[in-house]
């Protein structure tokens, strides 16, 4: 017994004396920084912007899930760095992510807008309140066991006519990808903008918040929900 104790103590002391080993898999970081804008001008909840130079919009809420954020090595393989984040335009800490990947040379990144079917089937009560998929984030459609992909609400007005709008697109077949191809510097920051005007007026069509104030991905507004989600990738741009 005494011998055993001495052996253990020796082993512990040997371990303690070793220098910190080099990590087995060295990593580097990339930072993605997001901003919600209207034609280049930042917009935050509580602020205003104009659509088509004629519709005055007060933005109350803007939230959007991004999923499967991945970086591509120059030899072609994709490395997922983060499963899901939630951009909350009123919380700056949710708009910037420093992500670790194995050391190497990378020439592209991508992310999904919304949630893929696996993430969309998550149980929102199983996450801590701070998690992007927690019920506490207000993105969960409890009656259908899935999540809103984008949640934006506010008031749109032309002249004295004002309409409250609530746009909540999202379901499995609305998951869209954004990809950016360019050499990426280790430790560097990529700034991305999400243009609200491009969300409402993009390659897939126009959604006018005063004509379609209520979009909840139901049979009556499905076409508009698709337009928003189809426009979303083109609303992203890299500015540096």
């Amino acid at each position: 017994m005494r011998l055993l104790v001495l052996t253990c103590l020796a082993a512990i002391s040997l371990v303690s004396c070793q220098e910190d080993p080099q990590p087995a898999n060295p990593t580097q970081t990339f930072t993605l920084e997001f901003a919600v804008v209207d034609e280049g001008t930042p917009v935050v909840p509580g602020g205003t912007f104009q659509l088509w130079d004629s519709v005055n919009v007060n933005l109350d809420i803007f939230r959007m899930h991004l999923a499967r954020i991945a970086f591509r090595k120059t030899e072609g393989t994709w490395v997922e760095a983060k499963d899901v984040v939630l951009l909350e335009a009123d919380k700056p800490q949710t708009m910037r992510y420093t992500l670790s990947v194995p050391t190497g040379s990378y020439n592209a990144f991508r992310f999904g807008i919304g949630l893929d079917s696996v993430l969309n089937a998550s149980n929102p009560v199983s996450f801590p309140s701070s998690h992007p998929l927690s019920a506490a984030k207000g993105m969960y459609w409890s009656w259908a066991m899935m999540y809103r992909f984008i949640l934006t609400e506010g008031r749109a007005a032309v002249g004295s006519t004002q309409v409250n709008y609530a746009h909540h697109p999202g379901r499995n077949d609305m998951f869209r990808m954004f990809t950016h191809e360019a050499p990426l510097a280790a430790g560097g920051t990529t700034q991305l903008q999400f243009d609200l005007e491009a969300l409402y007026d993009g390659p897939s069509g126009i959604v006018h918040p005063m004509i379609s104030p209520s979009i909840h991905t139901t049979p009556v507004d499905l076409a508009d929900a698709f337009i928003l989600m189809n426009n979303a990738p083109a609303a992203f741009s890299v500015v540096n």
């Binding site: 009560v125 019920a135 984030k137 207000g138 259908a144 139901t218 049979p219």
Partner: protein, 327 residues
């Protein structure tokens, strides 16, 4: 560490064999029964069910719209939510939820633990600010204590969901005269009610084509021929054209105390319901082909009403275990 161990031991001690013996004549439950024996969880779920804290105006609890004496329906067409926001559909009764595969009119929820957060988060129901729920739970020392006993942790979303579901799983209504009849006590049903049962099961009326088995329900969705409306029912969830205007077939247990009827509360009495089906429905363009007109004499209506009344489990409606807890 020792505190954690102690809490875990206490939680284990509360996983008692207290779970009610489930009635076998209803068949095996569809939902998971695992959490039902956790008596602290059930006690917490009961408190949460009746607490108005989780609504936007602090005035609406689950128990506001689910009243025990009405089989946890509420007798209203639609129930107002926080700040009086109008509800959209008739409040269903709550009983025998263990034997359901799908919840809500859309059938979009398949687990009771997931169902219980629906009214909480729905704008026209309780509409609790979701980011505040955990803090609300943790402000109440009694709930914290029960949560620690039940789950060995501070109350959070998961505790809310699991404990409320554990309580609701205990709402079993299976001691009506009809139940005793099913268990071999033929005299538990009056001759009138037995005649009504025979009519109910007859091919002429065809009621049992949809209201099947001892639960008198079905797990499919159907259009029961009500006039057209803007409520897409099942289609709202699946977005499939073939599901538009279809609704789940509810259980008829306790039906005598859950008026008004239909998802839109458009029929106020059981006599009106019988008239609706006897007419062959109102001719909705998506109406189920199972609904066909039939003749009913006044005597037969009486017999059917006797049968419907025999489906009431009076003990369940007054069981003190499911009543609001003493404050």
């Amino acid at each position: 560490m020792f505190r954690g161990l102690l809490i875990a031991l206490v939680a284990g001690a509360c996983t008692s064999p207290h779970v009610s013996t489930l009635p076998t004549h209803l068949g095996p439950p569809v939902q998971d029964t695992a959490g039902m024996g956790n008596s602290a969880a059930v006690a917490l779920g009961r408190q949460l069910f009746y607490a108005p804290d989780f609504s936007l105006d602090g005035k609406v609890s689950c128990g506001s719209c689910h009243i025990q004496s009405l089989a946890f329906a509420d007798g209203k067409s639609t129930s107002p939510g926080a700040h009086g926001r109008p509800g959209q559909r008739n409040t269903p009764g709550l009983y025998n939820l263990l034997w359901k595969k799908h919840y809500l009119s859309e059938g979009g929820v398949d687990a009771l633990e997931r169902q219980v957060i629906v009214p909480l988060l729905t704008d026209f129901e309780m509409a609790v600010p979701p980011e505040q729920l955990q803090a609300m739970l943790q402000r109440n020392p009694a709930w914290v204590q029960l949560s620690l006993q039940a789950y060995g942790k501070q109350p959070d979303w998961e505790v809310f969901s699991n404990s409320l579901a554990a309580f609701l799983k205990h709402l079993v209504a299976a001691n009506s005269p009809y139940d005793r009849y099913l268990q071999g006590q033929e005299q538990a049903l009056s001759p009138q009610a037995r005649a009504g049962l025979a009519l109910f099961e007859s091919n002429r009326l065809g009621c049992a084509q949809c209201h099947q088995g001892p639960l008198l329900q079905a797990e499919f969705f159907a259009n029961n021929g009500l006039p057209d409306s803007t409520d897409y029912g099942r289609g709202l969830f699946t977005l499939n054209d073939s599901d538009f205007y279809r609704f789940p077939v509810p259980s008829l247990r306790n039906v005598a105390v859950t008026a008004p009827y239909m998802h839109n509360a458009s029929l106020t009495t059981l006599e009106e319901v019988l008239q609706h089906y006897a007419r062959g429905g109102a001719g909705h363009r998506r109406q189920s082909p199972l609904i066909k007109p039939f003749e009913l004499t006044d005597a037969e209506v009486e017999q059917l009403l006797h049968f419907f009344n025999s489906l009431t489990d009076s003990n369940f409606l007054a069981d003190p275990r499911w009543a609001p807890p003493a404050s």
